[in-house]
Symmetry: C2
Subunit: 110 residues, 2 copies
DNA sequence: CTCTATCCTTAGAACTTCTAGGTATACTAC
DNA sequence: GTAGTATACCTAGAAGTTCTAAGGATAGAG
């Protein structure tokens, strides 16, 4: 559990990351931990998924990076939402709501 | 709308198809129409996605096919759930519920 | 000083969905 | 009768995301 069914993550990872960053700047490793903790260990984003995702989103202008130091004195790349990222987050939130509602309708159809 | 954000479909198409088939045998074209109608036009499964998906699931033993004739007197391949398909449907339903709940927790986190 | 946890990077595989073309037939409207 | 539309299936290839699996480096605990 927590491992399987993760194909569902496809198309939702960006939304999750953007949403975590809405609460303030953070770095890849911490974002993954946050998602894991917030979902009670249900979602587990691998590093090999997280970092490429961050690069994609930075390239697209949704997030911006700055090297910094963590609480534990380690070097880390902190990302923060851009204005475009905020808009993207809103758009993806709406899409998710619409989508999950739609799936729900099929699952509950007679 | 209905066109964009469809990346979300990834990993959910099988579940939707299996669920439609739980209501009785049907063929690709009709399954796509059913999903479209049930979701109030939100989800639109392309034929290029539907047919390969049906082959995959048949190959995996989740559904079984029989050629038949539709109400409108057209030749069509009717699929029905197998015992394994029913189990798969149950498993994917659970995964979906767990997953969508998890995403919801992230979206509603402070 | 060894071990674990933190933190980043990247190449390649795997997989699903979409695009975009094609075939064929029934029915409706003109 | 014939043009157009909706039905129904098929498939090759492109596109895109996530995972696997490797590697490197440092802080702190024991």
């Amino acid at each position: 559990m927590g491992k399987r069914g993760m194909d569902l993550l496809r198309g939702t990872l960006d939304l999750l990351v953007l949403r975590v960053l809405r609460s303030g700047p953070s770095h890849g490793y911490a974002i993954a931990k946050a998602i894991h903790a917030t979902t009670d260990e249900v979602l587990n984003v691998e590093e090999g998924s997280m970092y490429p995702a961050l690069y994609r989103m930075e390239k697209r202008g949704w997030i911006a990076a700055d090297w910094g130091v963590t609480d534990t004195k380690r070097r880390a790349k902190f990302y923060q939402l851009t204005t475009e990222g905020r808009a993207q987050l809103d758009a993806e939130s709406s899409s998710w709501n619409e989508f999950s509602t739609a799936v729900g309708k099929v699952l509950e159809s007679s």
